[in-house]
Symmetry: C2
Subunit: 150 residues, 2 copies
Amino acid sequence: MPDDEANPGMRNWRALQPLTEAECMGLLADGGMARLVYSSRYGPTALPMVYRIDGESIVVGTWDPALFDEDLRTGIARAEYQVAVEVDQIDLEAREGWIVLVRGAAHHIDTEAERAPLIGPDLEPWIEGVPAHLIRVAPTSTWGNRILRA
Amino acid sequence: MPDDEANPGMRNWRALQPLTEAECMGLLADGGMARLVYSSRYGPTALPMVYRIDGESIVVGTWDPALFDEDLRTGIARAEYQVAVEVDQIDLEAREGWIVLVRGAAHHIDTEAERAPLIGPDLEPWIEGVPAHLIRVAPTSTWGNRILRA
């Protein structure tokens, strides 16, 4: 019997198990809610956004492009901003779950030709008056951990 | 009858409603899971952590201090690292929820005198072999939005 069942007052210890890149991308396969992480003029920033996997990259759809229209552009052609995409699913009661952090350059999807095939039920705009703005992140590093019973 | 009930195929438009500082802190009052956001040597970073409100500051408890032992220290006495604490609660089905982003300096709680009164059921360590490491963030800016039916 685990310690925490025998002694409910005792701590339920957990362990961290590093995930491989393939495991990380597998956990992201279904899309959902991620946080786009970057340094804005005002400091470190993370904003929740919907995302889906497209090939080997992550496409995030933002609900307020005004927030980072300037922030996420270097102003230099082909020089892209470094960002991270964070996704986690942690059950605080069970103390179990996982976290994935993917880093890469933020490619703004500015042409309709590139945008049209990506817009679907999971990336459609849903803030009134604000078209969905999409950003593609091609991973340059992928890191993740699973939280398990120790 | 709202559009989306009459026409389930239509988009369920939503609107963003800015939150006041007091409303933001009110939403954080119960603690739970936040993400600590900062620039590490490896790039933009966000890691999920448990948090609670203590007076006017946010205290986060980390599950892997090794991750930012160096990252989050400037090496200069009293010069603290700029971080953000992000908390959101968004229901993707209902397309409703909120997001709060608080920025401030990261104060490492390195003394037992400062640490002891903060450790409790919501901030106790739960990764085996890793003591909880606490960081206090005194907000210098607080920003939030609620996502509502348009």
